[in-house]
Each structure stands twice: as structure tokens, then as C-alpha cells.
């Protein structure tokens, strides 16, 4: 008797609550639709072709003023979608190939370029103004599937104060790093999980050849190199020269970071110091070049093309350095004063061809892990 009653009870209570939830779900659904259509435009279908979506990694940054400039020139509004680090963002595009989330992808670098090209992610497009781009960074000059946008150098940074206090000259080259006076001073990043870490390793591959770099790393390990999982950890915690590291009492005066890190240390300090607290070992650098490409299956191809043109315009190129701490690739684009004053001139960075990286990457990473992490 009681059980039948209970069964009936539950049978009659649930619909009432189900209704409430359905209503809630419906409300959410409506607001979603409103959010999708109504972001930044009136939401009608015709207007939507006025939106161009840029898919990128977490480090993408641009001044709102410059993006507004683009809208003024072309009539397109830029939407930016960021999805994880460079590798993760690219892999998500590969997974959603054919029905991309946006029109343009920015942030595939030379270490990942082959993976992107082999997966045929991009529609070829020769950007307007490409003749103004430094030919040395045009790695896909034959087919124009990607357009170079910026370059940056991964180098060992040193803490000036430490070396002044200890009266040791800071290291300059890969060879210096394995000398006894620099024992237990360097912190780098895990090659498997961090792009600066990978770049530094590729630099050693370029320098010592594909059969000599392992021996170098064995010496580096014997010389007490420390490995962190990510750049944040290494730079903000263990490196004694950065603002974060000073607070965390970092005890490693050498770190694998970027050639543009010293200007950042100056720019984001209050009051700004006369000289940068950190310096760059200019013969330990690996050059990273970042590209943008028009995604295959883009809904707004015309807008995407206009956006790529804009990314290599002087306006964007001159705005970019202080946002992303990278160097412009367009001839005649002025670098900000902070860069010229506090940055390092890297004259001969190491490089490895994208195809070679793609072919050997997994093997190299495995081999590096077994040498350094075991």
C-alpha cells in the first residue's frame, strides 16, 4: 500500500520539477543564442559576415586601439578565441579540421609548422605587402599557406647582479654553460611540456648536430642543470634575476627564457630602472618564427584575408612588440625604445628546418628525457 503510494508520489512530483528544469534549460538556451548572435553586432545573419574570428594561443595580445583601427579600415570586427598553449591550440584546429572555429589561425611556429602543413589546415593566400616581409622568415614562400608575422629568440638569460657580486663573467655560449664556474646555476624547462624548453634543446641540436647534442646534454646534466616543467616555474620561481624570482629567493642566476625578457623586466617595474636587471647570453639562442594562415573551410574568407594583410601591416607590426614581446618581421617597422635600449641584438641565432623538426621531434624528446630526467 505504502509502496504504491510512494511510487505514485514520485511519479507526480518529478514532472513538476522537470518542468522547472526544462524552463531553466530553455532560458539558458535562449540566452545562449542571444549571446552567440549578439556579441559585438546586431546579430542578424547579414551582419555576421562582418565578423572575422582569429583563433590563437594564450599568448596572443593586441592593443584594442589597433583592432579598432582594423575595423575602421575594413569594416570587419575581430573576435579572438584563445585555446591553450601553442601546441594545444594547433592540435585543436587539427581535430576540428574542415569545420574550423574561426577564419584565421595565428601562432603556429617553426617547430610546429610541418604538423600544420601536413594536416592541410590552411588555404593558400599571398598576403598584400608580403614583399615587405624579411625573406629569411618566409619558410613557405613557394606555396604561401602561411604568412610569417613575428619572430623571437629563445636564449639563456642571466642575473646581472649575481655575476657582478661573484665577480664571474656571465656565460655567452652553449660551450660556456658546461664550464665548472657555472655549475648548478642554470634552470631550463621540460622539453616535453614547454616550448622554450624545446627551443633551447633544438638550439643545441643545431649547434652540435643530430649526433652530438646528446653528449652535450650529458655534460650539462653533470654540470647541475635543473629542469622545471614550465617557463613560469623556471622564470618566476627559480631564476634569481626576475621580479618573481627575487621574491621567491630564486637561486638559479641562469634561465632559459626569451631575448625580450629583459625589456619586460624594465617595462613592468615601478619605478623603471636605468638598466635591465637581466642580460642575454647571445650565443645560446634559437629563433622562433610565428605564422598565421587562412583556415581551410573558413566561413569568412574575405575577412580572413583582410586580417592577414593587416597582421603584416606596419600598424600592427609596430604595436605588436610591447604586447607579445616579439620582434616585427616587416622591413622598416620601428621597434619600441625599450627593445632597442634594453634588448639584446641576436646576430646569429640557431635554426632547424621545420621538416627536420617534425621528423625527429618525438625521438629527440624521448632521448632528451632519458638523458636529463632519469
Amino acid at each position: 500500500m505504502s509502496t504504491t503510494k510512494r511510487a505514485r508520489t514520485s511519479g507526480r512530483t518529478l514532472p513538476t520539477r522537470k518542468l522547472a528544469v526544462t524552463a531553466l534549460a530553455a532560458a539558458l538556451g535562449v540566452s545562449t543564442l542571444a549571446a552567440c548572435g549578439g556579441s559585438g553586432d546586431s546579430g542578424s545573419g547579414a551582419k555576421n559576415s562582418k565578423v572575422v574570428t582569429l583563433v590563437s594561443h594564450d599568448s596572443f595580445a593586441a592593443s584594442p586601439a589597433v583592432l579598432k583601427e582594423f575595423t575602421k579600415e575594413t569594416g570587419y570586427t575581430v573576435h579572438v578565441l584563445k585555446s591553450g598553449d601553442a601546441g594545444a591550440a594547433l592540435n585543436q584546429e587539427i581535430l576540428s579540421k574542415g569545420s574550423p572555429r574561426g577564419d584565421v589561425f595565428f601562432g603556429v611556429d617553426n617547430t610546429l609548422l610541418s604538423r600544420a602543413l601536413d594536416n592541410e589546415l590552411f588555404t593558400p593566400y599571398q598576403a598584400k605587402g608580403l614583399d615587405q616581409v624579411d625573406s629569411g622568415v618566409q619558410l613557405d614562400a613557394a606555396k604561401h599557406r602561411v604568412t610569417p608575422i613575428d619572430s623571437g629568440d629563445l636564449c639563456v638569460n642571466y642575473d646581472k647582479k649575481y655575476f657582478a657580486d661573484h665577480k664571474i663573467a656571465p656565460p655567452r655560449s652553449f660551450d660556456d654553460l658546461i664550464k665548472p664556474q657555472y655549475k648548478n646555476l642554470l634552470v631550463t624547462e621540460n622539453v616535453a611540456t614547454s616550448s622554450p624548453g624545446l627551443g633551447f634543446m633544438l638550439g643545441t641540436v643545431a649547434k652540435y648536430g643530430s649526433d652530438g647534442w646528446q653528449a652535450y646534454w650529458k655534460k650539462l646534466k653533470a654540470n647541475g642543470v635543473k629542469v622545471d616543467d614550465g617557463w613560469e616555474q623556471a622564470y618566476n620561481n627559480d631564476f634569481s634575476g626576475s621580479a618573481g624570482g627575487k621574491k621567491a629567493k630564486g637561486d638559479r642566476p641562469l634561465v632559459v627564457s626569451y631575448a625580450s625578457s629583459p625589456p619586460a623586466e624594465v617595462l613592468y617595474a615601478k619605478p623603471q630602472p636605468k638598466t635591465a636587471p637581466t642580460g642575454v647570453a647571445t650565443s645560446t639562442c634559437f629563433r622562433q618564427i610565428e605564422f598565421a594562415g587562412l583556415l581551410d573551410g573558413a566561413r569568412n574568407e574575405a575577412g580572413g584575408k583582410a586580417l592577414i594583410d593587416f597582421l603584416i601591416s606596419k600598424k600592427f607590426q609596430e604595436d605588436m612588440p610591447l604586447n607579445m614581446f616579439v620582434d616585427p618581421v616587416v622591413k622598416g617597422a620601428k621597434e619600441p625604445a625599450v627593445f632597442t635600449e634594453f634588448g639584446a641584438k641576436v646576430t646569429a641565432p640557431e635554426t632547424v628546418a621545420p621538416g627536420t623538426i617534425a621528423k625527429n621531434r618525438d625521438q629527440w624528446v624521448k632521448s632528451w628525457s632519458s638523458i636529463v630526467l632519469k
Partner: protein, 537 residues
């Protein structure tokens, strides 16, 4: 039953099956041979071993340290109790990036331990274990303490009157009543630590790796879907086994309890022993939770030129983080709260319905559904996120760039909490009360409102608190789908930490502090919610 089931089918089962399927299918046929290939790799076996080992150790340690805390919070009144209760939950919402930083400041080089005794625990397994305790302390205190506070102390007293010793009375009366809650808490802590990602990554360095970290690497970095799929299945199997074990432990243990208003059960400590206990718990909270949090606050105020609010002021400027955000970082606070509210709403609706359905029905199917609801805790964010990517890409479900994905993904993680906190209480409600109400002419809805609701109100609030907190601190899924014009707090913190320079670092610390405050205040408000009828029954 239908609503939560549909929710899980669409937003969990379908995406995860799709991504696993893509890894295990080649040329249209299943390649189960891949499972053996992956599982015979020594590095994978090592990761499996470490994952299980540290999860067991972390769970044991957490229970050991947090159960006295649950008792003290449930049974005693002391100054600042509500505040401490809220603060103890704060770690739970902190992005792991921040927790890592705080713990390094405590255990690492030049940290507190280093200065006092010259001990450094960073990059040892102890740092990972302690960080897990820091994270999960609140889980135990809230789930176990929430129920403990409502147990009628007079039952134990009755047992004493009948001649039972103090210990026997506790063992025969209180312990059985608590078992389901303790088991549920242990289960949640285990699931959390088993699938730990950020903590292991930061504090473990490259030497320690868990399944979760490995799955992330294989999926997001290497795009090695077959290996990732196998590891996901392994994680499924492990989580499934844990859930089965849990079900077996608590089955037939959940009996109808007489629950009372928690306000009546807590009293001021009496005598030296009780004060010592309370003092001990407070000391543990101070060292384990307040200190790491304090370090963060101190660093956020330690600006250039002495202590001050420089970094907080910087947060309000448009140019903070140099164009990384298209809005001042401060706007992230409102975004986070908005997402968290939506996620809490979804989680409460889905989880509440599921819990109600699970209370009313029994049987194998229902138990299976119960376990199914727990699975999202054991699946990595990256698997779900990438699953969304390849499944929710066609209208009407093209949600890939929609904001609703964020609360949906967060609600997936919130639902198990809601179910776990509501179920023990709902099951403890005596069905005869409902029948009595029905006999007296109450409509089913009225019976539910008058009988169930007052009893579960507290559990509902606790559950809402959890869901809200989970959503506030959730980083994995959000990192994939948040747009720069509406970053959440954890995402903003991570992005600021990813840039060089003192101002960025300081702002990250300041935002973390704000995140702590937002969380603590929300939880405090939640604890204060008391309806005009205090639960007298």
C-alpha cells in the same frame, strides 16, 4: 531521472566516447590491440603505479588531518567559526598555478620551513601530498562535518545511559551514521588526487607524473590520440573500480537517521581536553591553510617601494598585461561570478534531480546511474574539452565558441558534488514522514516542501557552495574555451603569470587574493542564508 540522464549523455558520454573512439578506431574497425601495446610500456606502468600510490597516500593523510577538523566544526562553537569554515574552503577554488606558488613559498627554497629548520620539501613527494591535503581539507570537513552537525547527540547520550562506555557509544551510534559521509568524502578526495594535474605538474617537477598529466600531454601536445584513449580507458577502469568499492562499502549502511538542527548540537568546548582538540585543529588550519594563503596575500601587497596597493591599482587599467586582455583584469571577477552562478544553477538542477531519483528508486540500473554521475570527476578536462571540440560542432549544438560551454563543463564537475552531499541526507529522511503527510492530505509537492526540503536545505546549501567553488577555480576546461574579452579569474591569473616582469607577477598575486576573497565571501553569504523557519523537526 530523464533530465540528468540526457545532460550526461549529451555533454559527457557523447564527447568522451567520440574522442576515445577516434583514438581506438582505425579504418573503421576497433584496434583493441593498442591497449596492450600502451600498457606494456614501462614508462606508462611507472606512471600508473605512482598515480595510485600517491592518491592512496594523499587520501589517507587528508582523512587523518581533516576528520578531527570535521568533528570540531560540527560539535563546537568557537570564535570566528563561520569565517574559518569559509576560509578552509578557499584552497579548493584556487587555481593550481597559484597553489603551487604558495606551497613553494612554504616548503621550497627560502620558504618558512627552510628558514626555521633548513628543510626543503619541494620536488619531493611530500610537497605533492601536503598540497593535496591543503586542497581537499574542505571536502572532508564539509561532507562529514555537515552530517555530523545534524546527528542528534541525544542518541549517543541514550547509549551512555544504557551503560555503554563513551567509546562504545561512539562506535555503535555515531560511527555507523557517519560511515556513508566519510566514505563519500574519501571517495571524492581519492578521485581528486588520482586525477591531480596542476599540483603534480608544478610541485612534482618533471620527475613525477600522473595519468592525468600524461593524458594531457598525449592529447594536447602530441596529438597521440590512441595512447590518450587507452589511458583514458585505464582511468575509467580505475575510477570505476573505486566507485564499485565505495558502493559496496556504503550499501545498506545508509539508514534513516534522526537529524536535528545543527545549531543545537554545537556548544562551547568544556575542559582542557576539548580545548586542546579545538586548539589543535585551529593550529593545523593555521599552518596548512592560512600560511600558504597568507604568503600570497603578502606577495600581492609587497609592491615596488614597500607594501601598498600598487598591483591592485594596476589591475584596473585597460593596458594591464599589455593587451593580453581586451578588458581590465578586474572585469574577470564579474565573469567568474557569472559563470559560477550559471554552473551552480545547472549543477543543482541536474544533481538535485539525480539525487532525488536515486533516493526514490533502487535497483541495479539506478546504482549504475549513480556511478555514472561520478565519472566526470575521473575524466580529464582535456578529454572532455577535446571531445566537445569534435562533437558539438554542428548546429543545433555548435557550442564551440559559445560562453555556455564554460558553465556546462564546470557543472559536469559540480554535479557529483551535489549528488554526493545530497544523497546521504535525502536517504536519511524517513519515508514514513512523507507517507504521513500524504495521508494527511498534502499534495506530493507540498509533502516534499514540508518534509524533505527543511531537512535537505543545509545539504543543498553545502552542495551549492561546492558547485560554486568548483566553478570559480576550475581551470582546465575554461582555459580552452574562455575568450580574451571575458577571461575568468584563474585564466587571467595564469596569463599574467605567463608574462615576465614585476607588475605582471604582482597582479597575478593580487588577482589570486581577490579570487580568495570572492570565494570566501560567497561561501560566507551562503552559510548565512537561513530561512525564517529554522529547521525544527
Amino acid at each position: 531521472m530523464a533530465v540528468p540522464f540526457a545532460f550526461f549523455a549529451v555533454f559527457f558520454a557523447y564527447p568522451v566516447t567520440a574522442i576515445v573512439g577516434r583514438g581506438l578506431k582505425a579504418d573503421g574497425s576497433w584496434q583493441f590491440g593498442r591497449i596492450g601495446d600502451v600498457l606494456s610500456r614501462p614508462d606508462i606502468l611507472h606512471i600508473l603505479w605512482f598515480t595510485s600510490w600517491q592518491a592512496c597516500a594523499s587520501t589517507g593523510l587528508t582523512l587523518l588531518i581533516a576528520l578531527p577538523g570535521a568533528y570540531v566544526f560540527a560539535r563546537f562553537d568557537f570564535p570566528c567559526k563561520q569565517l574559518l569554515h569559509a576560509v578552509a574552503t578557499v584552497p579548493f577554488v584556487l587555481p593550481t598555478v597559484v597553489v603551487g606558488t604558495a606551497f613553494l613559498a612554504l616548503l621550497g627554497r627560502g620558504g618558512l620551513l627552510d628558514q626555521l629548520w633548513g628543510v626543503r620539501l619541494d620536488t619531493t613527494v611530500w610537497a605533492i601530498l601536503l598540497a593535496h591535503v591543503f586542497f581537499n581539507y574542505a571536502v572532508v570537513v564539509r561532507t562529514v562535518g555537515g552530517l555530523w552537525a545534524q546527528l542528534d547527540p541525544r542518541q549517543e547520550e541514550a547509549a551512555r545511559v544504557l551503560g555503554a562506555s563513551r567509546f562504545a557509544a561512539w562506535r555503535r551510534v555515531t560511527l555507523p551514521a557517519l560511515t556513508p559521509a566519510v566514505a563519500a568524502a574519501a571517495l571524492m578526495v581519492f578521485l581528486f588526487t588520482f586525477t591531480s594535474f596542476g599540483v603534480v605538474q608544478i610541485l612534482g617537477g618533471p620527475t613525477f607524473s600522473t595519468l592525468e598529466v600524461e593524458i594531457y600531454r598525449e592529447t594536447a601536445e602530441l596529438l597521440d590520440l590512441p595512447t590518450a584513449a587507452v589511458l583514458t580507458l585505464v582511468q575509467f577502469a580505475a575510477v570505476g573500480a573505486i566507485l564499485a568499492l565505495h558502493a559496496w562499502t556504503v550499501r545498506r549502511r545508509e539508514t534513516a537517521l534522526s537529524l536535528v538542527d545543527p545549531a543545537q548540537t554545537a556548544r562551547r568546548p568544556r575542559g582542557a581536553a576539548q580545548w586542546t582538540l579545538v586548539g589543535g585543529v585551529l593550529a593545523v588550519i593555521t599552518v596548512l591553510i592560512l600560511l600558504p594563503l597568507g604568503v600570497l596575500v603578502a606577495r600581492s601587497l609587497d609592491g615596488p617601494g614597500g607594501y601598498g596597493f600598487t598591483f591592485y591599482r594596476a589591475l584596473q587599467s585597460q593596458g594591464a598585461g599589455g593587451g593580453t586582455f581586451l578588458v581590465p583584469p578586474v572585469a574577470a571577477i564579474w565573469n567568474s561570478v557569472r559563470y559560477a552562478l550559471a554552473a551552480t544553477g545547472i549543477a543543482l538542477a541536474v544533481g538535485g534531480l539525480a539525487a532525488a531519483a536515486l533516493t526514490r528508486r533502487a535497483g541495479r540500473l539506478v546504482r549504475g546511474f549513480d556511478a555514472l554521475l561520478m565519472l566526470p570527476l575521473g575524466v580529464s578536462a582535456v578529454t572532455v574539452g577535446f571531445g566537445f571540440l569534435i562533437t558539438l560542432d554542428k548546429p543545433p549544438l555548435d557550442l564551440r565558441s559559445s560562453w555556455i560551454l564554460v558553465p556546462l563543463a564546470q557543472a559536469l564537475v559540480g554535479v557529483p558534488f551535489v549528488v554526493r552531499t545530497m544523497l546521504p541526507v535525502l536517504r536519511a529522511v524517513d519515508g514514513r514522514l512523507r507517507e504521513a503527510a500524504a495521508v494527511l492530505g498534502a499534495s506530493p509537492l507540498r509533502a516534499w516542501r514540508e518534509v524533505d526540503l527543511p531537512m535537505v536545505r543545509r545539504a543543498l546549501l553545502v552542495a551549492a557552495g561546492f558547485a560554486f567553488a568548483v566553478s570559480l577555480g576550475e581551470f582546465g576546461a575554461t582555459a580552452f574555451i574562455a575568450r580574451p574579452d571575458n577571461p575568468t579569474l584563474p585564466v587571467a591569473v595564469a596569463r599574467l603569470l605567463g608574462r615576465a616582469g614585476e607588475l605582471n607577477y604582482g597582479q597575478a598575486m593580487a588577482l589570486s587574493t581577490i579570487l580568495m576573497l570572492v570565494c570566501a565571501v560567497s561561501l560566507l553569504v551562503l552559510e548565512r542564508i537561513r530561512t525564517e523557519r529554522s529547521g525544527e523537526f
